[in-house]
């Protein structure tokens, strides 16, 4: 080995390097001290610091020298990566603030170290959500709703699982990601193994959920409860998921000694909440306490029970058929802060009230009470509709003629940068889906019995020889020719722009459309995109985003960015109109893809419930009879048992979480059309 390569640099050599990095710098005393500090470092570290000295000098001599002076102390506590991040952060600080602030930052190594360690070891909800939700769907059989908890706790209200935004309880990121998985699984286990729905006890005495409520405000009791349930649930998981339980055991380490006494009873495979509560009471009486355990999900009886009660009243099912007095037209949980529940406000309007300015500009008339409006504003407010469609009234078993008045309303362009952001976010995926589609596109077809072509068609030749021998007229179509596979497919994407899609769902829709367009541009499939919403049967609206004859260009991209949640969901008329547009396309195969949150609904009671479902179903049926195949994608409506009825002849899929929609859409499309 060449000893020169690893030899430390001598003081004189270091001086030369400092001089060349900071030519003419007046602080000779500072440079001397810098050199002195570096002299003792191993060669690799010397090189590292000299490299960064050069780099930082481009920005500020003073800061570069200060960094070099601090470097020995920093390198005692940071690895090479950490060191680089430390320097880069310092340079950043100088750019954003000034040299003194940057120096102060570099000086406070303790603080940097804390944050650096944290960022190295933390796992975030976003890192794990995809993988965790797939895992839980596999073991539970349902697409669970998993969300970030604002108070950074892990708990469940039995409908959704809530997880902290970040986890840093364990020393490294990989362990913290596992911790997320374990927490989420235990939360699911709480709902699966009766933390909130206790069975009747042995002696026939029912342990009610209310028993839990007794502990609502006792921190110590809740801590114990969480730990005891963690013991019980782990035992429940053991039978089907022994590997997972081994992982949990490794993460949590041995149980706290104080729990020892409870283990046999709670680890019994048949233990129920009653056992947990019995042990809990005994522990409370004995004054037992334990420290909080990282992996044990917390139990918040008061919060959870509130939800269970609400669920009992509505049976947890979407409000169908029941005239629930507190019917909520839009599930408010989709609001992401910036979006206000416009639909709700709207419903509270008295007939005849006009919605205020903002919406007025775009859509002058939004009432379904024509007479009232005409009386107030005169008939000119109702321009002739662009189209009229019949609607199916299942109660009468007949169509209402020209019942729906449909207006084509332009979409205002949205943020021009949006599309690029999305493309960037999904770049790897776009690349992947394009590659897959490339394969479909590349599939050529051999045509046999051609007059010309690249190879002989043996079958045809033999046949012609035989025909000739038998005295027949031999054919001259003796070749096989390779041609590009013609798909002859027209696709209509029908996008729900009702108020209930505001927030996540709307964003997922826009992202999906961008991914689809990016991918579809590769194929020659003819496709169009329309949004739909509306307000009563006299004001059904359709929003052209990309017509069949339009290119996917900047104006289409801006319109996709401009898609927003509007009013209600009258689905039937949109299906009828868009399948008519689709039918006008010459393609041999026609496909209608609807993307919605799956609940037809409109202002007033008329369209709600069975009426809307039956009309939508009928419209899909009509399309089917005319040779249009429909595929209905429903977001966030797992367990909605009316979907098979609603979609009738169409195929459908429920995408459980809006964030999964974009990637799923592209896959669905690939499947439907290959």
């Amino acid at each position: 080995m060449n000893s020169n390569a690893v030899r430390r640099l001598f003081t004189s050599e270091l001086e030369v390097r400092f001089e060349s990095a900071l030519p003419g710098h007046p602080d000779t005393e500072g440079m001397r001290r810098g050199v002195q500090g570096l002299e003792k470092l191993p060669r690799v570290q010397q090189d590292l610091v000299l490299h960064w000295l050069d780099a930082a000098a481009q920005s500020s001599f003073e800061l570069a020298l200060f960094m070099a002076q601090m470097a020995p102390a920093a390198l005692e506590r940071l690895d090479e990566d950490g060191f680089e991040i430390w320097v880069l952060n310092g340079l950043d600080m100088k750019d954003r603030e000034d040299v003194p602030t940057a120096k102060a930052f570099l000086r406070d190594l303790d603080d940097f170290l804390l944050r650096y360690r944290y960022s190295e070891s933390v796992a975030s909800f976003e890192d794990v959500i995809h993988r965790t939700s797939i895992f839980l769907q596999a073991i539970s059989g349902e697409a669970l709703d998993i969300r970030v908890d604002e108070r950074d706790r892990a708990w469940t209200d039995t409908k959704a699982l809530y997880l902290p935004y970040e986890l840093a309880a364990l020393p490294d990121a990989a362990s913290n990601r596992k911790l997320y998985k374990v927490m989420a699984t235990l939360l699911w286990a709480q709902t699966r193994y009766g933390t909130f729905y206790a069975d009747p006890g042995e002696d026939g005495e029912a342990v009610t959920q209310n028993a839990l409520l007794r502990y609502s405000h006792d921190e110590r009791a809740l801590r114990l409860l969480a730990a005891l349930e963690a013991v019980r649930l782990e035992a429940k998981l053991l039978c089907d998921l022994p590997g997972l339980v081994a992982e949990i055991a490794e993460l949590r380490g041995p149980w706290p000694a104080a729990l020892e006494a409870a283990l046999p009873r709670l680890s019994h495979p048949d233990a129920t909440l009653a056992d947990t509560l019995a042990v809990l009471d005994a522990f409370l009486a004995q004054g037992v306490d334990i420290p909080p355990m990282a992996h044990a999900a917390s139990i918040d009886p008061a919060q959870t029970m509130k939800n269970i009660r609400a669920e009992k009243r509505t049976d947890g099912k979407p409000r169908l058929g029941s005239a629930d007095e507190d019917f909520e037209p839009f599930p408010s949980e989709f609001d992401d802060g910036e979006a206000v529940g416009q639909g709700k406000e709207a419903e509270e309007l008295e007939p005849g009230d006009m919605p205020t300015s903002a919406t007025l500009g775009k859509n002058p008339v939004r009432r379904n009470d024509e007479a009232m409006l005409q009386a107030r504003h005169g008939p000119q407010l109702f321009p002739e509709p662009d189209y009229k469609y019949d609607e199916w009234d299942f109660k009468r078993g007949a169509y209402r003629e020209d019942w729906c008045h449909l207006y084509e309303v332009p979409v205002l362009p949205g943020d021009p940068g949006y599309v690029n952001q999305v493309k960037h976010k999904y770049r790897a995926y776009i690349w992947q889906i394009r590659r897959q589609l490339e394969m479909i596109k590349g599939e050529d077809k051999m045509l046999s019995r051609q007059v010309d072509g690249e190879e002989m068609d043996i079958d045809a030749v033999i046949e012609s020889v035989i025909d000739h021998r038998n005295g027949g007229e031999p054919s001259d179509r003796l070749f096989r020719r390779r041609v590009r596979n013609e798909r002859s497919l027209a696709v209509m994407f029908m996008v729900d722009m009702s108020g209930s899609t505001k927030g996540w769902v709307n964003n997922a829709e826009r992202e999906s459309l961008i991914l689809l367009c990016e991918a579809l541009e590769l194929l020659n499939d003819n496709y169009a995109i329309y949004g739909f919403s509306g307000w009563g049967h006299k004001r059904c609206e359709i929003y052209p985003i990309k017509r069949f004859d339009e290119q996917y260009d900047d104006s289409v991209r801006a319109k996709i960015a401009g898609i927003e949640g509007k009013d209600f969901t009258r689905m039937g008329v949109a299906v009828r109109h868009l399948s008519k547009l689709l039918e006008e396309q010459g393609a041999r195969h026609k496909l209608l893809v609807t993307i919605s949150d799956g609940y037809p609904d409109d202002f007033g009671d008329e369209y709600r419930n069975d009426y809307g479902i039956e009309d939508t179903r009928r419209a899909l049926q009509e399309a089917h009879e005319r040779g249009i195949r429909s595929f209905c994608v429903t977001i966030d409506r797992q367990g909605a048992d009316y979907l098979p009825r609603l979609y009738g002849p169409a195929r459908y899929e429920v995408v459980p979480n809006a964030y999964r929609l974009p990637m799923r859409m592209a896959e669905i499309y690939r499947h439907l059309t290959t």
């Binding site: 993988r131 895992f135 997972l244």
Partner: protein, 271 residues
């Protein structure tokens, strides 16, 4: 055309009983359909035992079995037959379907949706009361003997709009629904076919069922019985269960790194 000779391939019979684990009353139903001369459509996901069932029934009924895997280049001639020139002579050679009809065999057309529509229609007269095969080129109409039976299969799971069975085809067949069997039954299959202890087979089936919960949520189909049998065979050959499942299940279900990672989590959780 008397000077032309005619070749029809010899068909094999299945001598040893293929192992088939009945799931419901499918064996009796199939026997009844065979007796009544009705054609049968087997619907079900990939690797759930359709082919094995047909093999078993062919053995049970003592008839030869002819299997054709359909694809979109399959021509009518590929099914019915064509002329060949042998030396100085033109010879008619029966295709698999014609051979099956003449021999009174069971003809199994696998994945019928993959075949082109013009190919599919040649089975129509065979699959209704006429029970004949028209060999136009040869100018012959072959009447199917009572033993001949037509069986087709398809996987209704995720069908492309570009490929559907026409109602006029579909409605000629008695339909059987196949699906992955219940845990205990499937475990018995995996244990027998894969030669592993029942306890391991049960774990494999649990894993399989979990992956089936993901159908449509990132993967097109969950692990089939076939994949589970493969995993079992690897285990029987000495591979560690986790590694066997990674190779036979996780990697074969998806290429997406996130999805494969989740599937790996499942494998680790079950074993």
């Amino acid at each position: 055309m008397t000077k032309q000779s005619h070749i029809t391939p010899q068909l094999m019979r299945i001598d040893d009983e293929p192992f088939y684990q009945p799931v419901a009353d499918e064996i009796e139903m199939f026997e009844a359909a065979a007796k009544a001369g009705l054609p049968v459509l087997l619907k079900g996901p990939t690797g759930c035992g359709k082919t094995r069932f047909v093999e078993h029934m062919a053995w049970k009924l003592g008839r030869p079995l002819v299997t054709v895997s359909c694809h979109d280049d399959l021509t009518t001639a590929d099914l019915i037959g064509r002329y060949l020139i042998v030396g100085d002579e033109t010879v008619w050679v029966d295709g698999p379907l014609a051979a099956a009809v003449r021999a009174g065999a069971i003809c199994y057309l696998d994945e019928i949706v993959e075949a082109r529509k013009d190919t599919t229609v040649v089975i129509h007269p065979l699959a209704d009361a006429r029970r004949v095969l028209n060999i136009d080129k040869h100018g012959e109409q072959v009447e199917a003997p009572p033993e001949f039976m037509l069986v087709i299969s398809y996987n209704p799971g995720y069908q492309s709009v570009l490929k559907e069975i026409k109602p006029s085809t579909r409605q000629r067949f008695i339909a059987f629904d196949f699906d992955y069997p219940a845990l205990e039954v499937e475990a018995r299959i995996v244990a027998t076919e894969g030669k592993v202890p029942l306890e391991i087979a049960q774990k494999l089936v649990k894993l399989g069922q979990m992956t089936r919960n993901l159908k449509g949520a990132g993967i097109d189909e969950g692990a089939s019985t076939r994949l589970l049998v493969h995993a079992a065979q690897l285990i029987a050959a000495g591979v560690k269960p986790q590694a066997a499942c990674t190779a036979a299940v996780a990697r074969s279900l998806s290429d997406d790194p996130d999805m494969t990672a989740s599937l790996q989590d499942l494998v680790n959780a079950v074993f």
